[in-house]
Amino acid sequence: MNEANTDIDFKKGLDFKNAIIDSFFKLSPRTQIKNPVMFVVYLGCLSTTAVCFVSMINQTLSFFEIQITAWLWFTVLFANFAEAIAERKGKAQADSLKKSRTGVNAKVVEGKNIRVMSADDLKKGMIILCEIGDLIAADGEVIEGIASVDESAITGESAPVIREAGGDRSGVMAGTRVVSDYIKVMVSCEKGESYLDKMVALIEGAERRKTPNEVALGILLVFLTVLFIVCVITLKFFLIYLKGGTASIDHKEFLILISLLVCLAPTTIGGLLSAIGISGMERLLKRNVLAKSGKAVETAGDIDVLLLDKTGTITYGARMCYEIIPAQGVSIDDLARAAFLASLEDQTPEGKSIVQFLYQKFNVKKDNQKDDTICFIPFSAETRMSGADLMDASGKIISSVRKGASESMRQFIISLHGDYPQSVADAAKMISQKGGTPLVVSIDEHVLGVIYLKDIIKQGIQERFAMLRKIGIRTVMVTGDNPLTAATIAAEAGVDDFIAEATPHAKLQRIIDEQESGHMVGMIGDGTNDAPALAQADVGIAMNSGTQAAKEAGNMVDLDSDPTKLLDVVETGKELLMARGALTAFSIANDISKYFTILPAVLVGVVVINGHDLLSVLNILKLKTPESAI
């Protein structure tokens, strides 16, 4: 997006010019009538212009008349300009969005060739190949191969699951990642009209619907405008009565009354109302959040309960190495070295985290090993182990290190006639109970110890939650983990509450319960199983990395997939409302002072006793002539 932003900056000058041109095009009555407040000013402009023309024909055109007319036109044009610039900005953003979108790429199998194409172009029935590390591009069915797939982004389950052709375990979902082996998938769900395309249309302003508060405020402004029209007209009639009943009006008086009306009409807020709405959407987009409607943005300012899916939002979603526990009688350094060897070539996030952890904690380095004699054995779904074989120069295996799930390792060790120590079994059990994942490490038939893998909480998230709490938002963590794990992570992350072993139904029910007790609920999620909850929540924010279903269900999409973005969204929602509120209050309060500035001009000479114009005391600004007042 950085590139895109500079793109917009570059365009700014151009937009400015276009916006000016637009503001003249917006002078057509058909556009003007959409904003009743400005339409009144517009009508005022037309009538004063007419007066000017009449004066011109009579050759009595005064500077005062021209000045008033010019000011009125300027007011209208300025309102148009504000709207035009906001629209232009929105358009520029949308353009850059179109450019910057890079969908997930898929490897499509066509006979023996493999062609890479964007996930958005996938059609139903196509066969795609997914290898280690690939994101599965579309929902589909496995037709060949077996692989372990990390579905944590969707299900919240940290441990990878096995997916194979045939049987019940053949369905794969878009957004999941293949972590071992490969599979061929037949696409079963075509992407319809792209979600992003819909978004772009919204941002361009063409389909922008007014938000409820905007509509309500609009109504109030129309009422006020009607009020001022009546005030000014009746004022004229009161004056006719006081002046002895001659119903005549000269040009100057007409102009003064029109300008009184225009000054009183809430033009400040009326002119900027739609511009504020557009700029709100645009401000969100700057923060890389797409909102489906302005309403969602406003509602975001109101939410007081926030449900967050644990995986991928609070935690990284991948398990990371947290600790290593040696078996009885084994030194921790031996275990560290063996674990290091077993993970060195392991490209999974877990493997990488083990290497990093051991390097940082035990300073185990690659240099200590002889590179050329290590043969890495990748993880396979069948053995559920990975590791490395150490070979001598002739290629003979000296020793082999393995790491894997405790149960499969136990079977493996027993098959080698080794001894599976009780201390390791206990340690593994303890880790599981705490919600972690134990990986047992062995060298040949000897068990060395256990690696404690754990879901790690994202940095800085506690501070974010504290800030949310400060602005009155309660956070609830939703996770598929067991209650014990959930409690541990909840305490660590500093959320206010958590739901453990959450099913999609449980999430939905929680949202409904919260709503029934009068809360406004926001939900952040990325998985298909979050979709019902996202749809039910008052504000559903889907991660861009999440599934299509989640994105469809939510009413905002976070392009950066950063859940703490919600703070920004809430802030923008509040800013939108505040901008309108402040302008309205200003507009109305200002009218009082306008009465004091312009009324004296209207009332000059109405109440004169002994040569004193009594009503001039109202002229607290001490303006010398009515002309200068206006």
């Binding site: 409820p212 508060n213 509509v215 309500a216 405020l217 109504i219 109030l220 009422f223 006020l224 009607v226 009020l227 009546v230 005030c231 009746t234 004022l235 009639f237 009161f238 004056l239 006719i240 009565y241 006081l242 009943g245 119903a247 009183l264 509602t299 300012g301 109101d302 007081d304 400060k470 602005i471 009155g472 938002i473 029934e516 007790s517 009068g518 809360h519 406004m520 929602g573 509040k574 800013e575 409302l577 505040m578 509120g581 402040a582 309205t584 209050a585 109305i588 009218d591 009082i592 009465y595 009324l599 009332l603 109405v606 109440v607 006793i609 004193h612 009594l614 009503l615 005391v617 109202l618």
Partner: protein, 549 residues
Amino acid sequence: MGDVILVITLLLICLGLGAVIGKYMARSLNDEKICLTDRFICRMGIDTKSQMNWKEYLLSTLVFTAFGFIFLQAVIMCQAWLPLNPNHRPNLPFLMAFNITTSFVTNTNWQNYAGESTMGLFSQMVGLTVQNFLSAAVGVAVLLAFVRGLLIKESITLGNFWKDVSRFTIKILLPLSILFAIFFIQQGMPQTFKGTITATTLEGKAVKIPVGPVASQMAIKMIGGNGGGFYNGNATHPFENPTPISNFIQLILILLLPVSCVFMLIFMLPNRKEGYMILSVMGVMLLVGIGISYWGQSQINSITQMKFLEGTESRFSTFECSLWSVLTTAVANGSVNCMHSSLSPLSQLVALFNMMTGEVIFGGVGSGLYGMFLYVLLTVFLAGLMVGRTPEYFGKKIETKEVYWVGIALLFPGLLNLVFSAIALNTSSGLSSISHSGEHGLSEVLYAFSSSFGNNGSAFAGLSANTDFYNTFTGMGMLFGRFIVIVACLVIAGRLGVKKAIVAGPGTLKTDTTVFAFLLLGVIIVMGALTFFPALVLGPIAEHLIMGQ
């Protein structure tokens, strides 16, 4: 000093009694159990059991008022043929009767007639006095429905109109009226079926003074916020206001039930601070009004070189007159103890402004408070936007439709008021009734329409209002002023009722704070000023400046 003590004593008594009566009202009007009153009304074939939604409630209000209207119209148009007409008053013509009827069913009690020389005793007692009770009860019923709408959650039922009206009439109005009628008889008000008494004046001439059941009518006139007098002179007349004590008691009665309504609200709310906030805003506005009016009244009239004594009843001090004028316009009572036309321009300004803002300073019985709620909703809407949260009151979101109806109810009576005044000042039929030219004439017309749109009923004096033009226009004004607001309130109550209440959090706009009270005060004043400032400048303000010369 004595004046200050008078005001403080008056307010303290009203607050004390108001709290007691308010608590009783909150309990007895909302009691779920079927009471004797309900059974009695049920016997008459009226359903007091079923719960009504806003449409049914509104329909009942309108039907009830319509029946009252037809009955009263019939009575005063046929009074010559009815019993209890010792002075042989003739039937009233249609338009005049229309104006009187409208005036009494809307709790306005604008009087285009002189009571003692127009009305038969049957018309006074069965016609007008009955409406004195019922129109006040309708106001309280609508208020109850509105408060229920605020308090209920996701429900459509606002209570039962018939139950509310009958309970309030029988349990509150009737006992209070009987009590004070007896007191007023003791003070010297007539209570008789005789048409006239003959008295011999100091000059030795015999004069006939019309009398009748004055005391009983005066009690409900003051208690129910009606203000329609038995005599043309209203409370300036010795028979309607015989002693200083009766004057003081009547001042208390003007405020009593309106204050009680606010206390009823306070005792109905889970968070009483919300109610006290409203009470304090009303109190502040009242005190400021009294202050300005007092100051205006203590000036010297530059034309007569005296205080503003012309047109006042010399039994009461000028301050007692201005105090009454502020109270009667604040509270939508409409009774007078001096001619408001004779008040100082500033006192007139206060009285006008009180009526123009819809009489929300305690206001009419029930009606003042539901009018105030409309201002509260508007303030919540504006202030809610400013704190960056969708506006909500009692946890109910204030959305488009609510703002729409608040806007209609708060702006349109004022707009029509200006339009009607402008018509009156620019047509010969309107101008012919005005007794003063220039600024004072403008005040006369403005006052007449403000009084009818605000359902106040007090008269400025000076304007001969019994003409076809004014009968029609002030009649329409009273209807619009009453029913635009009632319809809006019930629609809003219905809409708020079905909403769920959002739990208040740290980000919620608090509506029980001093800050909010100031905002509310500001909104009321600004809305009133925006609508009426030009008119007020040309009327009382210009006159004040002229007098200062």
